[in-house]
């Protein structure tokens, strides 16, 4: 799909005063950006020639844009039924729009789209984001882009535009080109699957016909490491996604929970060939570089800090499982979690300031976030089944996890503050262990 796709985008309008958004007000509240959502109107796009295919894409595109912006947690998508004017009749540019009509329905922002399908395979799409509340009409247009490509590139065009919007609001391009790896029993056995960030385009990755767990992405998105009982015991497999090439680590004992080193072709993993599970640093081809922990008992589930200087991991050295932080340069280990007797599956936030994990307290398993300095412990899920395996989106705004809140285990997404919890996808079998890919780009 990507190969035949040549996407060009042009900046239609230059911003003469890009500082406006910062000087006037912040769109996104830093302390909890998901509390007050930005009301945004996304009317059905205008079709240039109003052919059947154009009209279909006009609705499909506007709906996808709505779903994608809603997914971020920053927006409240306004119901189209209440809209006072029809941009398909009046036009999609600032000169045509009567902003008062949009302010009246509560829209602080407005997205308009104009598209044309000239022949079977060519799609042109103009998208504009307006701030309806700006005093000066010339300041109202925040982003204007024109995309041209094939008809099948609609999804990609919409995601590109959403990235622009997110960058304007948060200074981060988001995750609209990312994927999610996870474990599903859809085939009868636990296997690695993959889907787009929004749960679309599900694809089975492994066919081991045995227990497969712990998928983990390399920071360039080219490799997935996982654990499988393919040879009858837990071993680590390192898969090159493009070349479908697999390397394995089959030392004696259990070879578990691989985690990639940020920016390097190396990983940390738990191995028990010495008779006791310890965390080791391995090359991307599975050769041992160094033993990191030295403790009698369980040491598993490493997760690197984004700068690659520290590793959060799980150890039972104090009795039950707790999360510890190992400093790679000083080789010191410090205990991070003290609340609750059972804390596992740490996942370091992309900004480096927080660690999400799952903990059992009062018989419930929930997702928690704690500062990497041990401060600011926050519980994100509560009284809704078993919740585990938190995985941050690459911009740090969302957390994917699995939950049994609707019976069998499925994958859910919530904001980093615990709001907007929703199911990511529905498919046969049980889904667990989501792992959010880095931004892969193209």
């Amino acid at each position: 799909m990507f190969k035949k796709f040549i996407l060009s985008c042009f900046i239609l309008f230059l911003f003469t005063n890009t500082g406006i958004c910062r000087t006037d007000y912040d769109y996104v509240n830093i302390s909890n950006p998901f509390l007050k959502k930005i009301p945004i109107a996304i009317p059905v796009f205008k079709a240039m020639y109003e052919t059947e295919i154009e009209n279909q894409i006009a609705t499909e595109g506007a709906n996808l844009l709505s779903d994608t912006l809603e997914f971020t947690g920053y927006f409240k998508i306004l119901n189209r039924e209440g809209f006072l004017e029809d941009i398909r009749k009046i036009g999609t540019t600032g000169q045509n729009i009567h902003f008062q009509n949009w302010i009246s329905v509560g829209a602080e922002m407005l997205v308009t789209g104009l598209l044309s399908v000239k022949d079977e395979n060519s799609l042109e799409l103009e998208l504009r984001l307006f701030d309806t509340l700006k005093v000066n009409d010339n300041d109202k247009l925040l982003i204007g882009k024109r995309y041209s490509g094939g008809k099948n590139d609609l999804r990609k065009m919409i995601h590109r535009f959403c990235s622009e919007i997110l960058f304007l609001l948060t200074k981060s391009y988001g995750y609209f080109d990312t994927k999610m790896a996870f474990i599903s029993t859809a085939s009868g056995k636990k296997e690695v699957y993959m889907c787009d960030f929004d749960g679309q385009n599900i694809e089975q990755i492994t066919r081991n016909n045995s227990i497969t767990i712990s998928p983990s992405w390399s920071s360039d998105g080219a490799w997935i490491a996982y654990t499988s009982y393919y040879k009858g015991k837990p071993d680590i497999y390192i898969l090159n996604l493009k070349e479908k090439r697999v390397t394995n680590v089959t030392e004696k004992g259990s070879n578990l929970s691989p985690a990639w080193f940020p920016g390097r072709f190396a990983l940390a993993a738990s191995m028990s060939f010495s008779g006791d599970s310890e965390i080791y640093l391995l090359t991307g081809t599975g050769k041992i570089i160094k033993k990191l922990t030295n403790n009698l008992g369980v040491d598993v589930s490493p997760s690197f800090s984004p700068d690659g200087k520290k590793i959060a991991f799980v150890s039972d050295r104090a009795g039950g499982p707790q999360i510890y932080i190992f400093d790679l340069s000083s080789e010191n280990t410090e205990r991070l979690t003290f609340q609750g007797k059972y804390n596992t599956s740490p996942n370091w936030s992309p900004k480096g300031d927080k660690i999400a994990y799952s903990g059992i307290d009062n018989g419930e398993m929930n997702i928690y976030v704690i500062g990497s300095d041990g401060k600011g412990l926050t519980q994100l899920t509560s009284s809704q089944g078993k919740n585990e395996y938190p995985s941050w989106s690459p911009d740090g705004s969302l957390i994917a996890f699995n939950s049994t809140r609707e019976g069998i285990s499925r994958i859910y997404v919530m904001t980093a503050y615990g709001t907007d919890q929703r199911r990511l996808l529905t498919m046969p079998g049980e889904q667990t262990s989501p792992s959010w890919s880095p931004r892969v780009g193209d």
């Binding site: 599970s277 369980v298 799980v314 599956s345 398993m365």
Partner: protein, 186 residues
């Protein structure tokens, strides 16, 4: 002179008599037992022996079967009797060590048997932590058997963590059953 003749006569008589006695003796010799009677006696003795042998054979077979059954039962008991653990623990409980003592005895009686000890956990907690915990459980069992005199080379371990529960239930009872070490003869 007369005396001499008399003695001679007497001697002759004695000789005669002796001769006669010898002949008589020959005559009164008891008849040899009839051949048929002898054969019958021999056959019944053989019968008895065969019967005895058959009985012995059957007894032996029975004993062997019983021994085989006992062996099978011991083998099955060895395979079927799991040891259980407390939540998030790999230390051996007293009931577990009692079972392990029987297993050690079985392994000493069956020197050709190699064993895979599987460590299992209940469904709580992550798959990864539970695999590591299950491995500790399998190794606790192995160490006990080694300490009881079983050659370590005969004992292998593997952990399945929470991946192969005996009971899919979400109750404390199901969890207790699932926290186990299981023994498989290889």
């Amino acid at each position: 002179m007369f005396k001499r003749v008399l003695i001679s006569v007497l001697l002759v008589m004695v000789v005669f008599g002796l001769m006669f006695t010898a002949a008589c003796k020959k005559k009164v010799e008891p008849p040899a037992p009839p051949a048929q009677q002898e054969a019958t006696k021999d056959a019944s003795a053989a019968d008895d022996a065969a019967k005895k042998a058959a009985e012995e054979e059957a007894a032996k077979r029975r004993a062997l079967e019983e021994a085989e059954a006992a062996k099978r039962a011991a083998r099955e008991a060895f395979m079927n009797e799991d040891i259980n653990f407390d939540f998030d623990k790999s230390a051996l409980r007293e009931d577990a060590t009692e079972i392990l003592k029987k297993k050690a005895a079985f392994l000493k009686d069956n020197a050709d048997v190699n064993v895979m000890i599987e460590g299992h956990c209940d469904e709580r907690g992550t798959a990864e932590y539970n695999i590591a915990l299950g491995e500790k459980r399998a190794k606790s069992a192995k160490n006990f058997l080694v300490d009881s005199g079983v050659d370590a080379g005969r004992l292998n371990t593997v952990s399945y963590g929470k991946e192969k529960p005996l009971d899919e239930g979400k109750t404390e009872e199901a969890w207790a059953k699932n926290r186990r070490a299981h023994f498989v003869i290889q």
